[in-house]
């Protein structure tokens, strides 16, 4: 097909504004899938995505559409995640496109991530097409929302299609607008191959599958390819497009979005953001890759069964291939043995990765409490970054510490201003400014310490505003802060995996809450277990897990013996799901207890 008739675009939106549903409708309308095959949220293929109703991974699909001008067009759509944690996924898909559909909910209007995604799209020089969705809702106010888009974002919304993806209204208008407003891809098909890797995953039969946007040149099976990052040469065994399943196609050329399989076995040889070129006719320069991912939250991941370290390593390597924003390095803990210190884009991202390791690789894991990366300036002038509390130098060697600060944007109806401001104050926030977008919506800007928001800020803000407020943030920099290391002792023994870095002012409260939570989470043992919180050797809180007093099968006679033995075997199984920290048996969930800061 002539590249004039190709459109590469993505859909961006605040979470829940209806991206995946609109993608479903576009596919249905273009006959990509028949109504009969139609499952809701077709592109959300991971179990976790369907269960949680969110998109985590970007998913590409190719569609054909005969427009009102009588011509047939090839439309490559990349569905993207909406949650703030997955901005990196969004930015990668943007780099593969020329245009972005911006969905705005007709009743909720512009939200925090609407704006964040628009900025990303603008950075990538994309054409943006606003679409007003959910116009079927009684509370829809499309005209006001259009005005809001023009005022807040500065986009011309006069031509924005009015749509209800759920009801199938206005879908054709969207397709026509895509063709009319988005540019067709440019790129010299005669130039040496340059293909941007925007995603990849590991297939047991074909090896690593690269998702690429061909910017220049062409590629077909039999070609020898290499990447700029490694010198290894691979022979292409298959090229193809997304329909949305992999559909082989003889050749990909400039402007195409598709995949390349080249029997790449080593996960370490390819990286998302790298450029693929031909081995015998290489391009002189790689394409501009992506910004290096910046991890925001860190935690330790350990196999529940220490002997499965290598399986965990394999799992993390494979996941990284599919999720370039996951970073990791080997680590070991006195309490938990060998494992990995992993970096994530946020708490949801962390949860998703944990869940994927457990589900997709059948591994049981222990994760330690999340931490952010602190800057430590030592008395000898050395500066280091510490994201693992147990790697903190001794207090005497620390001159001062700095913590990461974010600039947070909160959008809310004015009714909840008080609650939001209270919350930000509790979280050590600094008020920057407040803007009324219209009568019913306010934008609040705050500086907040990152370690205060990674835990439960998002949930708190949702619960305090009955779900009406939205929130987004970006890292701003480091600020000096009074931070201390809070240690936890179980039965008198320090447990490194439970240590955390906290602000001095909240150390006592955190220590107390933590001891209380641990007391609830650690099952009673044969002996009494003191749970203590300490700062630099000084005990600041203590709780006691009382010794168990009754743990017996009352009767056991002839007919019971088999059944009673099974009960004991079950108890033994349960015990295997625990880790011994010194003499104390601790269930794996305990390490996440640190997360619960209070009981609201």
């Amino acid at each position: 097909m002539n590249s004039k008739n190709v459109r590469n675009f993505c859909i961006i939106a605040h979470i829940d504004h209806g991206k995946s549903t609109l993608a479903d409708r576009l596919m249905e309308k273009t006959g990509q899938v028949s109504k009969r095959e139609m499952e809701d949220q077709l592109l959300d293929s991971m179990d976790i995505e369907r269960e949680r109703g969110i998109t985590i991974k970007l998913t590409p699909v190719r569609m054909f559409y005969t427009a009102k001008d009588g011509q047939e067009y090839e439309l490559n759509l990349i569905d993207t995640p909406g949650h703030v944690d997955f901005t990196y996924e969004v930015s990668r898909s943007l780099a593969a496109c020329e245009g972005a559909i911006l969905i705005v909910d007709a009743s909720q209007g512009v939200e925090a991530q609407t704006l964040a995604n628009v900025y990303l799209a603008l950075e990538n020089n994309l054409e943006i097409l606003p679409v007003i969705n959910k116009i079927d809702l009684p509370s829809a106010r499309p005209d006001e929302v259009k005005a809001e888009i023009e005022e807040v974002i500065g986009l011309d919304a006069s031509y924005a299609p009015l749509v209800s993806a759920k009801e199938g209204i206005g879908i054709e208008d969207v397709l026509e607008a895509v063709i009319k407003y988005f540019p067709s891809p440019e790129g010299n098909t005669k130039a040496p191959l340059r293909a941007l890797i925007f995603d990849s995953y590991y297939d047991n039969y074909k090896g690593v599958i690269l998702f690429v946007r061909i910017k220049e040149g062409r590629v077909k099976s039999g070609d020898k390819i290499k990447t700029f990052r490694s010198d290894k040469i691979y022979e292409v065994v298959e090229t193809g497009v997304f329909s949305p399943n992999l559909l082989p196609k003889d050749e990909l050329s400039a402007g195409d979005v598709g995949y390349i399989a080249a029997s790449i076995k080593s996960i370490l040889d390819v990286a998302v953001g790298d450029t693929v070129t031909l081995a015998d006719n290489p391009a002189p320069e790689p394409l501009a890759g992506y910004k290096k991912v910046q991890s925001v939250v860190f935690c330790g991941i350990y196999p529940l069964d220490g002997s499965r370290f290598n399986d965990l390593k394999e799992a993390i390597l494979k996941l990284q291939l599919n999720d370039a924003s996951l970073i990791f390095e080997p680590d070991n803990s006195v309490a938990l043995g060998f494992g990995f210190r992993c970096g994530f884009l946020g708490l949801l991202h962390m949860e998703i990765i944990q869940e994927r390791i457990e589900r997709e690789f059948g591994l049981e894991i222990i994760t330690t409490a999340p931490s952010v990366s602190y800057k430590v300036v030592k008395t000898d002038g050395e500066t280091l970054f510490v994201d693992n509390p147990s790697h903190l130098p001794p207090q005497s060697e620390i001159e001062h510490m700095e913590e990461p600060i974010v600039k947070a944007d909160i959008y809310s109806p004015p009714d909840y201003l008080g609650q939001i401001m209270d919350l930000c104050r509790e979280k050590r926030g600094t008020f920057l400014q407040m803007t009324y977008l219209d009568k019913s919506r306010v934008r609040l800007e705050y500086d907040l310490p990152l370690n205060e928001i990674i835990f439960d800020f998002f949930d708190s803000i949702k619960s305090r505003t009955r779900g009406y407020a939205s929130f987004d943030y970006e890292l701003k920099g480091y600020e000096r802060s009074k931070l201390v290391k809070l240690d936890i002792l179980l039965n008198g023994e320090p447990c490194d995996a439970l240590s955390m870095i906290v602000h001095e002012d909240s150390a006592y409260t955190r220590g107390r809450t933590l001891c209380e939570n641990l007391k609830e989470a650690i099952p009673r043992q044969l002996f009494e277990v003191p749970v203590q919180a300490a700062i630099g050797g000084k005990i600041i809180a203590r709780e006691t897990v009382k010794a168990v007093r009754k743990d017996v099968l009352a009767k056991c006679y002839g007919g019971d013996i088999t059944r009673k033995k099974k009960l004991l075997e079950k108890q033994k199984e349960g015990k295997k799901r625990m880790r011994s920290i010194g003499s104390v048996e601790v269930p794996s969930e305990v390490f996440m207890q640190i997360l619960k800061t209070n009981k609201d």
């Binding site: 044969l526 168990v548 007093r549 017996v552 056991c556 002839g558 088999t562 108890q571």
Partner: protein, 369 residues
């Protein structure tokens, strides 16, 4: 030495905690049922001809609810088919609400020499709560009829609204009226029984409260001359239940009747729990076994440890060696080391210290593979 168990699955009404095979509306089948039991015994005669038995235990249900003549015939059938030693311990379970002087007379005459009476509690309101058909007075009448006999009383702890005084009163009543043996069990709310609902509603005492009742009970029993020989069983000197000790020493036993279990030659098997099915099997000249499991060496050893650690005397290391051809203290040295605060170890035995017997599960499972 081995034991014989016979299950009588009839009762006047179902207790609220009961999850045994026991039917309150099928007493009319007692005659046919007993005929089947005699027949089942005859069918096992050949295969067990080289076994000597020294205990017979008639349990239920409520064995005392059926006509005493069936019981007399049952004992006779056991003696006729098997080598039951002359001094065998022959026990019958009784509900105090279903006995009479005549019944006890017949029992004694046919050779029954041990009686197990379900007292459960001396508090009438708690008896009613449990759905028991008798009152404290009826227990007293029953105990008087058993005067001078070797009898045991069952006592339950962990009942709704039960206080330490209630438990004490129950123990004292049993002792005062001549029990030579007391079984003191914690009520176990089994899924599917009405008591389970009480449990879900939080109406039953929690583990700590039950443990306190137990400790108090153990102390009071000791003062009254009852020594604990198993976690839930207490006896005056020489009055331990031989039949039950055989279970805890992992001895062999054969069971007859609905739901009865057996362990012969390291094979465990269990009869059907369904009365009709039992009739059908026996009347068509088959056994009524629904579940049969050969216990491998490792399983035998785990059972042995699990059962022996329930008893006051613990694991007899010489007996262990003769059965498993290994030195217990050596084989389990790491477990013994780890659990040293909870075990008492000498050349002859390894046992759980008396004060930890009520938290034995987590100790026992350390010895499992």
């Amino acid at each position: 030495m081995a034991g014989i168990y016979v299950h009588i699955p009839f009762c006047k009404s179902k207790c609220r905690y009961c999850d045994f095979a026991s039917f309150s509306d099928k007493l009319c089948y007692a005659e046919s049922y007993m005929a089947c039991v005699y027949r089942e015994m005859a069918k096992r005669k050949e295969e067990l001809k080289n076994y000597s038995f020294n205990t017979l235990y008639i349990g239920g249900g409520t064995p005392s609810v059926i006509d005493e003549s069936y019981i007399a015939m049952l004992v006779a059938a056991a003696k006729k088919n098997f080598n039951l030693s002359a001094d065998a311990e022959i026990t019958i379970e009784m509900n105090p609400g279903t006995v009479s002087a005549r019944k006890i007379g017949v029992y004694k005459k046919c050779g029954i020499n041990r009686f197990s009476v379900g007292l459960q509690t001396a508090v009438n309101s708690q008896l009613a709560d449990l759905g028991r058909v008798h009152t404290l007075n009826e227990f007293v009448t029953c105990a008087k009829l058993l005067k001078g006999e070797n009898f045991s009383a069952d006592v339950m702890i962990g009942l709704k609204n039960q206080t330490a005084e209630d438990v004490e009163k129950t123990i004292e009543t049993a002792a005062a009226f001549g029990a030579s043996h007391i079984s003191m069990y914690a009520l176990t709310p089994e899924d599917g029984t009405p008591v389970y609902t009480d449990y879900l509603n939080g109406e039953l005492p929690d583990g700590d409260e039950v443990a306190a009742l137990y400790e108090m009970g153990v102390k009071r029993l000791k003062e009254l001359g009852f020594d604990r020989y198993e976690v839930s069983n207490f006896a005056k000197k020489g009055k331990e239940s031989r039949h039950n000790l055989n279970y805890w020493r992992r001895g062999e036993y054969i069971g007859f009747g609905v739901s009865a279990s057996s362990c012969i030659n390291d094979v465990r098997f269990t009869n059907t729990f369904d009365l009709d099915e039992y009739f059908k099997c026996i009347l068509s000249d088959n056994f009524a076994v629904i579940d049969r499991q050969e216990i491998d060496k490792e399983g035998q050893e785990e059972e042995y440890i699990m059962l022996a650690l329930r008893t006051e005397r613990g694991i007899d290391t010489a007996d262990y060696k003769s059965k498993f051809n290994a030195d217990f203290a050596k084989k389990y040295s790491s477990q013994i080391k780890r659990l040293e605060r909870f075990l008492s170890v000498d050349e002859k035995s390894v046992k759980i210290k008396p004060e930890h017997l009520f938290v034995q599960n987590s100790i026992i499972i350390e010895f499992f593979n």
